[in-house]
Amino acid sequence: MRFTKAGLAVTLTAGLALTGCASGSGSSTSQTSKNITLGNILAPATFEARNMNWGNQSVYAQAVYDGLLKPAPNGKDVQPSLATKWEYNTNKTVLTLTLRDGVVFSDGTPFTAEVAAQNLLRFRDGTSPQKSKVADLADAKAKDKTTLEITLKQANPAFLIYLAQAAGLQESPAAFGKADAQTNPVGSGPYTLNTSQTVVGTSYKFEKNPKYWDANSVKYDTLTVNVYTDATSELNALRGKQLDAAAVADNSILPQVEAAGFKSNGQNLNFAGLLLFDRAGKSNPALGNVKVRQAINYAVDAAALLKVVGLGRGEATGQVFRPESPAYEGTLNSTYKFDPDKARKLLADAGYASGLELTVPTAALFPKSLWPLLQQQLGDVGIKVKYVDTGTNTIADLQAQKYGLSYFTLQRDANDWQLISNMIAPNATWNTFKYQDPNVDALLATIRTGSEADSAAALKKLNEYVVDQAWFAPWYAPTNYFVTNAGTSVELNQGNVWPNLWNITPKA
C-alpha cells in the first residue's frame, strides 16, 4: 500500500469529517493588514463594567468600553477620552469633568453625565477587584448633560489614573442588571464583542464598532484575543505565526519566540522579592525587630537570584519605587548589598545569635528554582526556613495574615500614590498586617495633599524610611515582555502589564 501526503490528509479528513460539528470559534486565522490576533495569558473574569479587573484583563475592557480618561503610556498621566476637560477644587476633593457630547453606546443609548455618575457609583458598590481604588469616592452627580461632579472623602492623588483604568469604564445603562451582562458587554468602545464567534475562556473575537466616535483611531477591522494558560501552547502559536503579538508569562520561551522573528518589547514593571508583612512581630516576634528584617535583606544574594530565578531578564533593585519616580534614589539599591557576615552580626545584635526559624509559604504560582536557593542563603546566616505549601489558596492565606512574610511579585505602579495605596499605606491590600507607623503616616499626609515639590520630597523620605526599616526585601525588577511580529508596532504602558490597546498598531 502506498501512502502519500495528500492521500494521508484526504483519508484522515474523510474519517474525521464524520464527527465534525459546528461550535466554538476558530483561533487559527488568516492574517490581513486589517485583522489582528493577540495572545494573552488570562481570560476576563467578567465583561460587566462594574466588576472588571485590570492588568492582563485591560485589553478586553479597552476593546469594548471607553474610560472617562485614557492612561498615557507613561502610566501616571491621563489623557482625554469621554471626559475632555477636568479640574479639581482647591483642596482636591471635588473633581469636575466636562464630558464629550454625541457619544452613543453600541445599543444606541446616549452617553451622558447621568450615565457616567451611575457607572461610577455602581463600580464603587460592586465587587470589582479594583474596588478599593475608589474607596475615597463619596458621590458622583450630573450637573448637566455633559458636566459630571465627583466628590471625594479626601484628596486622592491617584484618582485621575483610576478613572483611566477599570473604575472609569462606561457601560450602557440599558445593560445594567441584564442576565447576560457578564458575557455580552455593551459599551461605547472601539470594538464590539462577537459573542457567537467567542469561546468564553479561550478565544474572544471583536469587531469594529460602526458607531465609534473616534473611528480614525481604530486600526483593525477585527481583533481576536486568544488565551494561553500553557506556555508551550503559546510558544507553538507564536512559532506557527498564528499570533501578531502576545503578552508572555514565561520568559523561558523568549529565545525560541525571538528566533521565530518576534521582537521582545520589555519593561521592568514589577519587583520580585520578599514582602516582610509582619513589621510588628505579631506572627513571629523576630520579624518585629528591624535588625532581623535588615539581616534578611543582607543575607540574600539578589544578583544570583536574578540570574537563576529571573533567567537574567531584569535588573537588581533594593527599593519598591520605579526609577522614574521622585521617590527613587539610586544609592538605595546598594543599602543591603549581599553580606552574610553583616546579616549574622545583625541577628546576634537582635538576640538571635543561635538562629531563628521562619515559615515561608510556597505555591505552584511561584518559581520552583527559588526555594532551595533561598533556604540555603538564609540558612547560611542562621535563619532556618520552613516551607508550607499553600496549594491554590496562596493569596487568601497571605491576606488572612497566616504568614509574616512571603515571596511575591508586585507591580511598581507608575503613579506613586497608586503604589503606596497598594503596598505601603496602613489599609493597603499588600500591607497584609495593616501595619501603621507614625513616621509613614506623616509623610503620606504630605504626599496626599501637599504641593508638587513637598510631595516629591516626602516621597523620597518615605522611600528612604521604608528601605531603612526593611519593610521589604526587594531583589530584582523582572522584565515583562510583549512580543510583536514584523508587521506590528507597540508602545508599552509603564503603568500596566498590557499596552493600551490603541498603542498596538500596524507597522507603517
Binding site: 501526503k5 490528509a9 484522515l12 479528513t13 474519517g15 474525521l16 469529517a17 464524520l18 464527527t19 465534525g20 460539528c21 459546528a22 461550535s23 466554538g24 470559534s25 476558530g26 483561533s27 487559527s28 476576563p44 473574569a45 467578567t46 465583561f47 460587566e48 479587573n53 465587587t127 470589582s128 477587584p129 479594583q130 474596588k131 478599593s132 451582562a181 457578564q182 458575557t183 469561546v199 468564553v200 475562556g201 479561550t202 478565544s203 486568544n226 494561553y228 494558560t229 500553557d230 508551550t232 501552547s233 503559546e234 507553538n236 502559536a237 506557527g240 498564528q242 496549594g391 491554590t392 489558596n393 493569596i395 487568601a396 491576606q399 488572612a400 497598594n422 489599609n427 491590600t429 499588600w430
Partner: protein, 313 residues
C-alpha cells in the same frame, strides 16, 4: 432488551448521583477561598466577603449542595463563578469539540487496531513483529510528549497542520481538518497500542476453535472465514477494551486540548478545577458522566448484536 436498557439507565442515574455528591464534597473542602480566587490579589477583604455572600458561599455545605441538586434536576446548572457564562452554554459550546476529537480517535483506534490486529494474527511473522513493536512504542511514549512531537514535526517544521486552535467544520472543513488531525492522532496512539493487542489475541484464540477448522475444511476462503466468523467472535473483548478507552480518551483530551489550545471540555475542566469553579466542574461531571453511561450502553448493545449469548445473559 428494554428491561436491560432500563436497568442500565437506572444504574447510570445512581452512578451520576454518587459522582456528583463525591465531586461536590471534594470541591467544597479542597477549593479554598473561592471569592478571593475570583477577585485576585488586589481585592480588599471587604470586597472578597461581599463576593462570597453573593455566591452563597457563606451558607452550610449541605444547603449549598441541596441548592445545586434542586436546580440541577430542573436542568439549571447555574453559571460559572469565574466568567458568568451559563454552565449549559459553556458545556454546549465545547462538547462538540471534544466529541469530534474523541470520536475521531475512537474511529482511528478501531480501524487501525482491527486491520493491524487481524493482519498480525493471521499472517504472523514480520507483520506480527511490527504490530508488537508498535504496541510497545504506543504504550511507552507519554501522550503529552507525542503531542508535542507531532506539533514540532508536522505543524512547525512541515507546516501541514495548525499548531494550536480549533476551526469548526462548518466554518471551514479544511481548517477543521488542519486543527483536529494531530490532536486526534495524539489521542489515539495509546488506544491503538492496546486495542491492536486485544484484537490480535482474540483473533488468534478464535482461529484455534473447531468451527474455524470445520469452515476451512469446507473450502471456504480464509479471508471470508476471518472477516465473517472469526472477527465477529473476537470483537467482544476488543469492544470492551474500547469502552474502557473511551473514558481514558476523555481524560487524555485534557492534556491534548491544553497542548493544542483547543477549546474543548478538557481545557475548561483543567481551568475550572484549578480555580475551584464549582458550578462549572459539577456541570462537567454531569456531562462526562452521561457520556460515559451512554457510550457503555451502546457498547453493551453492540456486543449483544454481535454475540447473541451476551444478549441472553
Amino acid at each position: 432488551m428494554l428491561t436491560f436498557i432500563g436497568r442500565r439507565l437506572l444504574t447510570g442515574v445512581a452512578l451520576l448521583a454518587a459522582i456528583t455528591t463525591f465531586g461536590f464534597t471534594l470541591l467544597y473542602f479542597g477549593g479554598g477561598d473561592i471569592a478571593r480566587k475570583i477577585l485576585g490579589e488586589n481585592a480588599d477583604q471587604q470586597t472578597v466577603a461581599l463576593k462570597a455572600q453573593q455566591l452563597g458561599l457563606d451558607r452550610p455545605v449541605l444547603v449549598q449542595y441541596g441548592d445545586w441538586i434542586s436546580h440541577a434536576v430542573r436542568g439549571d446548572l447555574g453559571a460559572s463563578w469565574f466568567s458568568g457564562q451559563p454552565v449549559l452554554d459553556a458545556i454546549g459550546s465545547r462538547l462538540s469539540v471534544t466529541l469530534s476529537l474523541v470520536t475521531g480517535a475512537i474511529i482511528l483506534i478501531a480501524v487501525i487496531s482491527v486491520v493491524l490486529g487481524v493482519l498480525a494474527a493471521t499472517r504472523r511473522g514480520w507483520v506480527d513483529r511490527i504490530a508488537q513493536l508498535l504496541a510497545i512504542v504506543g504504550h511507552a511514549i507519554p501522550g503529552f510528549l507525542f503531542a508535542v512531537g507531532l506539533v514540532l514535526v508536522f505543524a512547525l517544521t512541515l507546516g501541514w497542520f495548525d499548531p494550536t486552535g480549533y476551526v469548526p467544520f462548518l466554518d471551514s472543513p479544511t481548517g477543521w481538518a488542519k486543527t483536529v488531525t494531530l490532536p486526534v492522532i495524539a489521542l489515539a496512539l495509546g488506544g491503538i497500542a492496546s486495542v491492536t493487542q486485544q484484537v490480535r489475541g482474540s483473533v488468534i484464540d478464535a482461529l484455534r476453535n473447531d468451527y474455524v477448522r470445520t469452515l476451512r475444511s469446507r473450502g471456504i476462503p480464509a479471508r471470508r472465514v476471518v472477516l465473517k466468523h472469526v472477527l465477529r467472535n473476537a470483537a467482544g473483548p476488543a469492544l470492551a477494551v474500547l469502552a474502557v478507552y473511551f473514558v481514558g480518551l476523555l481524560g487524555g483530551a485534557v492534556i491534548v486540548e491544553q497542548v493544542f489550545a483547543i477549546p474543548g471540555l478538557g481545557q475548561v475542566a483543567v481551568q475550572a478545577t484549578t480555580q475551584g469553579d464549582i458550578p462549572l466542574v459539577m456541570g462537567l461531571l454531569v456531562a462526562t458522566g452521561i457520556l460515559v453511561i451512554i457510550f457503555n450502553l451502546l457498547v453493551d448493545l453492540a456486543q449483544g448484536w454481535l454475540n447473541p449469548k451476551v444478549r441472553l445473559s
